[in-house]
């Protein structure tokens, strides 16, 4: 088996007296979809934030391609090719899609003007339109503010932004929670296509049907610890629920 491209070992994180993560582990192999599941408060979002550099961990190890790394900021994670689609999408809704895609990574104008901080808006717009087309994310008006888009279209912008930049891993925190049936199917198809292009996806979801539909592996968190791992095909919905609620104990299994 290939070695993991991203690995989290024995991660601990407390907020005051609340232990959000204690001994959580996760490994992501090249070109796979891993589902990260667990009950509310199990630590899924905290683990995602730790691995995307939003929060700093108290204890534990994060390894990229087997080498230990420290993520102090989201940029640190990004520089290792790790992108995140946050549950709230983290879009600046008054900006247009291209500005959102390139926010913080703007293309400078060539020459002296670029050094002064001038942006090449045309290049950013052109490149965004091209990448959105490749990903099959079609928007009627690519120049209008994100605020004028529907919920599903905004989701498309947030997902596309992550996919455009991700080299290794994309975390998706509840990408389908707010979507209808058809839009959910589209996001799941997009996840598969990303995986087929060699970028791994970590899917955080409450929806057992979604998880079973796209995941190659499933990792279960409970009370901040990793309590179970399933391979595709081994997992049945009942087992997953049992692992999430604690009626099935299999630490270190699979």
């Amino acid at each position: 088996m290939a070695s993991p491209i991203l690995q989290a070992r024995d991660i601990h994180k407390s907020y005051g007296y609340i232990r959000s993560l204690q001994d959580a582990s996760l490994e992501v192999f090249p070109g796979e979809v891993v589902a990260l599941i667990g009950d509310n408060g199990a630590g899924k979002s905290t683990l995602t934030k730790a691995l995307s550099g939003v929060i700093r961990i108290d204890k534990g190890e994060i390894l990229v391609d087997g080498k230990p790394v420290t993520f102090a900021t989201p940029q640190d994670a990004r520089e290792h090719g790790i992108e995140t689609v946050y549950q709230d999408l983290a879009l600046a809704v008054d900006l247009n899609p291209a500005e959102n895609v390139y926010l913080g990574r703007e293309i400078p104008r060539p020459g002296f003007l670029g050094k002064l901080g001038f942006m090449d808006r045309k290049a950013m717009q052109r490149e965004t339109e091209r990448r959105f087309r490749d990903l099959g994310v079609n928007l009627k008006d690519m120049r209008s503010a994100v605020a004028n888009l529907s919920g599903g279209q905004r989701q498309g912008v947030a997902v596309a932004r992550a996919l455009i930049w991700a080299k290794r891993v994309v975390f998706m925190d509840e990408p389908t929670a707010a979507l209808g049936v058809a839009q959910t199917r589209n996001v799941l198809n997009l996840i598969r296509r990303v995986r087929d292009q060699g970028v791994s996806v970590v899917l955080i979801s409450h929806s057992m049907p979604d998880v079973l539909a796209v995941s190659d592996r499933i990792v279960v968190l409970r009370h901040g610890s990793t309590v179970a791992r399933f391979q595709k095909g081994d997992a049945k919905s009942d087992d997953l629920v049992a692992a999430m609620t604690g009626s099935l104990q299999m630490e270190g299994a699979a």
Partner: protein, 344 residues
């Protein structure tokens, strides 16, 4: 290829904003809020021109209006940046006074006939404004106090210090050369104050709309958390934005000195609200993320044109305050309508 695109039928049904061909008016209102205010300015100015073309379009009236608008533009430039970050800066009027007092005191100290005095005075005014702005920014961004309270407090502190330094009375001592070249100076008949204000506004507008710094300003006002996650140093940026506002107040303080050849301690208690009015009239949103420097410059003109026009047509100039208030309410209503008409 079934991807996000196939959801668009679905989205269109639920989402009025995604309907094809939104009306022209709607597009203008949603995407270019400053267009409304240009229309308002054209109507107001057109009315005065129609009633009293001789007086309204006379050289002296146009010059006076351009100086009034230019003076207000300095503060409004900084306020535009601050409001786009969803902040507010109430301290600008007091800071204008404080910067002017400090500049005069220093110029008197080195002797107002000293050849370097004008430049030293300028540096003192700009430095004083910028430092004060940095302090405002520190309290807003780092201690995360409400900008309304921080700048309300620093407004009082700045004016108090200005009065303490000056003994409560206006002090003269502005180099003659400053008054002559800037205050009453003209180039080809155009007041120098207006030229400086225009150049300054264009520069600030280019930075706001063409550079990364400007884009980050909009992003922070739109969604600070998203900006943070996109790698923008939000706190540092906010400190800089309040420093810009302070710099503008310092510059305005110096220009004010050149115009009146004296400090004008009691004359700026409403400047902060006037600047906010201009920016909001110009289509900026107090919720942040929206605004243009062009809109602000139009927003600066409306109260000025109203004030002079009403006097010319023989109405009491108090109507200006009434009219500006009504236009301001309309601008805020349009902004609210615009926000609620967006899809959620």
């Amino acid at each position: 290829m079934s991807t996000i695109e196939s959801s668009k039928d679905n989205a269109e049904v639920n989402d009025p904003a995604a309907r094809p061909q939104p009306s022209l008016l709607r597009r203008l209102l949603v995407d270019r809020p400053e267009m409304m205010i240009i229309l308002a300015l054209v109507i107001i100015a057109g009315f005065f021109v129609a009633v009293r073309p001789d007086a309204f379009l006379s050289g002296i009236n146009i010059r006076n209006m351009s100086i009034e608008a230019g003076m207000m533009m300095f503060l409004a430039v900084g306020m535009t940046y601050v409001i786009i970050t969803a902040g507010i800066d109430l301290s600008v009027g007091s800071l204008l006074v404080l910067s002017g007092v400090c500049a005069v005191l220093v110029m008197r100290m080195i002797g107002i006939d000293h050849p370097a005095a004008p430049w030293v005075g300028l540096l003192v005014a700009l430095g004083c404004g910028t430092l004060w702005g940095l302090l405002n920014g520190f309290f807003v961004a780092v201690t995360r106090l409400s900008p309304l309270i921080v700048t309300l407090a620093s407004m009082g502190i700045a004016l108090g210090i200005a009065r303490l330094l000056s003994g409560g009375v206006d002090i003269t001592g502005v180099p003659r050369s400053v008054v002559n070249t800037i205050g009453i100076g003209r180039v080809m008949g155009i007041p120098v104050i207006f030229l400086i204000a225009t150049a300054f506004a264009v520069l600030a507008g280019v930075i706001l709309h063409r550079t990364r710094f400007g884009l980050h300003t909009f992003a922070i006002g739109s969604n600070p958390q998203a900006a943070e996650r996109a790698g923008i140093k939000v706190r540092r940026h906010l400190v800089m934005v309040y420093a810009i506002s302070g710099f503008c107040a310092g510059l305005a303080g110096y220009i004010t000195l050149s115009r009146f050849a004296s400090t004008t301690i009691a004359g700026h208690s409403m400047d902060n609200l006037r600047a906010i009015t201009a920016v909001v009239l110009g289509g900026a949103s107090l919720f942040g993320g929206v605004g243009t420097m062009f809109g602000t410059s139009v927003g600066v003109l409306i109260p000025v044109v109203l004030a002079s026009g009403l006097v010319i047509v023989g109405l009491p100039s108090f109507w200006q305050e009434v009219a500006v208030g009504i236009v301001l309410l309309a601008a805020v209503l349009v902004d609210q309508w615009r926000r609620s008409s967006r899809s959620r």
